[in-house]
């Protein structure tokens, strides 16, 4: 039991670090890479992000887990973690390609036609074209397969009508991948078709969604008679659920191990500096209990991440256990931020700036929902990790159009 790389891992890390050190600035121990702030000029960010991606691609450091034939280096999961750690210690632009490179590219490799692979994968890898994922709908979130966006075939084209939601970066994406209902008379999972859609098509309207914390990183995307060539079907017609599953599995796999900071250190500082009933809050036994509980859960997650990394290092592939991270971490963030507000007494309701505890408290509920709610994650742990029986399903064995989707 130790925290060192294996010799092979150390060698890989040295190579990665070597290239990074000659191409980017190393961050100091307390620095973080630049994020994409609200209001920052988006075009500039994208340009610098694309420039960095091209540089990596030229040197063979882009999409390292992709097979060599598509421009990657066939790296293992643990090598990917090491690369991400090292890149995270360098001053690099925010990455806006994750959804394409991490989730959609692998889907195209698995289910796409040869023509699709040769047209789309390389520009995706080089960051020349940015991709978005058009999955959730207002009435199809946790129950994604309940999606209702319609696709109707007309000759060599398909006509799409409907509405997607929670689409990251729709405004600056060149391509999207969309799951649609192509046969409402088939059973729920059997009438879904998966398309590549040109985001510049006419009939697409993109509206930003304002979140409760004022942020606008997501969009609604409306499809109004949008025409898509038949050649853009990924996999087979009415068999799109299989491809969607591949995308979702890759989403899960892209959750890294480790568990970053959730503000515990800052909370300790707050407790040290805040007067509570005549002494520093950190001296109050009740405050201590709460803080200790946060620390223990947060470290428990971090060390669970170490166990996952160890398994990856031994050749395992990421499994549903990764769900624990979000299931524990998201409510923890909310409790921790809420407690920090409480610790400030009446001043805890002052909304100071975007990096305040109040801001975290407003942002936290979103983390408990996005990318799988607490409840869906508990189902995943219960069914896929523990092997408990699935939910009783009332939506199986009947045509999609006959499944109740609203009262009466």
């Amino acid at each position: 039991m130790d925290f060192n790389d294996t010799p092979q891992e150390a060698e890989f890390r040295a190579a990665a670090r070597g290239w990074l050190d000659s191409n980017a600035e190393r961050l100091g121990p307390d620095e973080s890479p630049t994020g994409m702030a609200e209001g920052q000029d988006r075009e500039d960010v994208i340009k610098s992000s694309q420039a960095w991606q091209a540089r990596k691609a030229d040197a063979g450091w882009a999409c390292i887990t992709w097979p060599k034939e598509y421009g990657g280096r066939g790296a293992s999961s643990i090598q990917n973690v090491i690369w991400n750690q090292e890149e995270g210690r360098s001053q690099t632009p925010p990455n806006v390609f994750g959804i394409g490179q991490g989730m959609l590219g692998p889907t195209i490799m698995a289910h796409g036609s040869e023509a699709q692979k040769s047209r789309y994968l390389n520009p995706m890898l080089r960051g020349e074209e940015i991709w978005c994922q058009l999955f959730s709908e207002t009435a199809a979130g946790s129950d994604l397969a309940g999606l209702q966006t319609r696709a109707v075939r007309e000759g060599d084209e398909w006509v799409l009508n409907g509405q997607k939601i929670w689409t990251t970066g729709a405004q600056y994406c060149r391509w999207g991948m969309i799951v649609t209902r192509s046969d409402p008379a088939a059973q729920k999972h059997a009438g879904i078709t998966y398309f590549i859609v040109d985001m510049e098509s006419s009939g697409i309207e993109i509206r930003p969604i304002k979140q409760i914390n004022g942020g606008k990183s997501f969009n609604e995307v409306f499809f109004n008679d949008v025409r898509v060539p038949h050649a853009n079907v990924v996999g087979k017609v009415n068999d799109g659920w299989r491809g969607a599953i591949t995308t979702l599995m890759n989403e899960r796999a892209s959750i890294g191990g480790g568990g970053g900071s959730n503000g515990f250190r800052e909370l300790m500082r707050l407790a040290r500096e805040t007067d509570w009933n005549g002494r520093p809050a950190l001296q109050d036994p009740y405050v201590r209990q709460r803080l200790a509980d946060f620390y223990i859960r947060s470290k428990g997650l971090q060390y669970t991440g170490y166990r996952t990394l160890t398994a990856l290092s031994k050749g395992a592939t990421p499994g549903p256990e990764a769900s624990i991270g979000k299931l524990v971490g998201a409510p923890l963030s909310q409790e921790l931020a809420g407690f920090a507000c409480d610790l400030q007494g009446q001043a805890g309701s002052l909304m100071e700036d975007d990096s305040s505890w109040q801001s975290s408290y407003l942002g936290a509920p979103g983390i408990r929902i996005a990318g799988g709610t607490d409840e869906i994650l508990r189902n995943i742990v219960a069914e896929r990790v523990l092997g408990l029986p699935p939910e009783v399903r009332l939506d199986k064995g009947i045509a999609f159009q006959d499944i109740p989707s609203a009262r009466n």
């Binding site: 979130g141 979140q211 001043a347 309701s349 002052l350 709610t373 607490d374 409840e375 989707s405």
Partner: protein
């Protein structure tokens, strides 16, 4: 055993609910939250006209002379509506302070305005982050002049008078200060719930006068906070109940996997637990209302129970509301965040739930102090 409100009291409550559902839908709260107005002047004026603001003020001071049980039910309705008005500051705090400690002259001077709504009052005791003690009060009162900074002061930007605790020769005293006078500077501060405003009040030699006996400021403040705690508990229970109802209704309408999400057992149990938590808070609040209205010696203990359980219930209800709505619950467009913000604001307004729990045991341990 008659642990319930009377038919007349319930009728008053129903009238208030009907009025608010007509005139103060959640859109009104949203309008204040998104706009520049600090509170809804129309609703405030109407509340004055209907006698709500003076519900506990005797008629001889221009009030409606109903009593505290009636006021508690009105507070519940104000909570249900997330009404964007300085009700708690002016009614539970400033008015109660004058009723508890004011001279007849002071009452005559201020209560009629507070009852009609022409005057807004507030209670300014916080000075810095954390849980204050008597020893941590820095504001001074000397030669009838106040010097110091209070923040955050709820509704301090719109109030005409503030009850302030300050250090003087005899210890801590309460004083009343007129905020439009010379020597007072106000600054609006951003609030986690912009439908309710917060301010910084700087007193730079502002004139003020004693409220109650000198040196009794801590005891008086505690007593005023106890009274406000009960009323605030009703406001919180009202808001929690509304959050619960909206969530339940949404879950009955929203389908996933071919059935209403309210039919999933894990979610049913969550709703059951939330319901129970709110009902226990309601019962504790009832007891607080009884103690308040009957001037019982149990008020200090009853107030702690009501306040702590109502704060916890509303906070949980507001969190569950977003979570059980799922993605749409996290959008600005849906109303969930109005409740989430208000829960945090109210939960901190008179000291957080853990402070009240701590006080509870202190008081149970020293019944003589009650």
């Amino acid at each position: 055993m008659n642990f319930d409100f009377s038919e007349e009291q319930k009728l008053l409550q129903k009238t208030a609910r009907d009025y608010l559902s007509e005139n103060a839908p959640l859109g009104l709260c949203r309008k204040i939250l998104e706009g520049d107005e600090p509170y809804s002047r129309e609703l405030w004026q109407a509340a004055g006209e209907m006698g709500w603001l003076g519900a506990a003020i005797p008629e001889k001071y221009g009030g409606a002379g109903f009593g505290h049980l009636e006021l508690a039910l009105l507070a519940e309705e104000v909570g249900r509506a997330l009404a964007p008005i300085p009700f708690s500051s002016s009614v539970y705090l400033a008015t109660e302070a004058l009723l508890v400690a004011g001279t007849d002259e002071q009452r005559e001077r201020y209560l009629p305005g507070l009852a009609s709504g022409e005057l807004i009052g507030t209670f300014a005791i916080a000075e810095r982050r954390g849980r204050p003690t008597a020893a941590s009060v820095q504001t001074t009162f000397k030669d009838r002049e106040l010097v110091g900074v209070k923040l955050p002061v709820p509704d301090g930007d719109v109030a005409g008078i503030a009850i302030v605790n300050a250090r003087d020769d005899s210890g801590i005293s309460l004083v009343v200060a007129e905020l439009d006078a010379r020597g007072v500077e106000r600054e609006s501060l951003a609030s986690i719930d912009p439908s309710r405003s917060l301010a910084r009040l700087s007193f730079q030699g502002a004139r003020a006068e004693l409220l109650g006996a000198p040196g009794k400021g801590q005891e008086l403040a505690d007593s005023i906070l106890d009274r406000a705690a009960v009323l605030m508990a009703f406001e919180q229970v009202g808001a929690a109940t509304r959050a619960f109802e909206l969530t339940k209704d949404f879950m009955m309408e929203r389908y996933a996997f071919g059935r209403p999400i309210a039919s999933f057992q894990a979610l049913k149990h969550r709703l059951a637990d939330l319901y129970v938590k709110i009902e226990l808070a309601r019962s504790n609040s009832y007891y607080g209302a009884w103690a308040l209205s009957s001037e019982s010696a149990e008020l200090p203990v009853a107030a702690c129970g009501a306040r702590a359980s109502a704060s916890d219930a509303f906070e949980l209800a507001s969190q569950e509301m977003i979570q059980l709505h799922g993605g749409v619950g996290y959008t600005w467009e849906y109303d969930c965040h109005l409740f989430y913000r208000r829960a945090k604001l109210l939960g901190l307004a008179l000291g957080n739930a853990s402070e009240w729990r701590d006080k509870l045991i202190e008081r149970l341990d020293h019944p003589s102090a009650v």
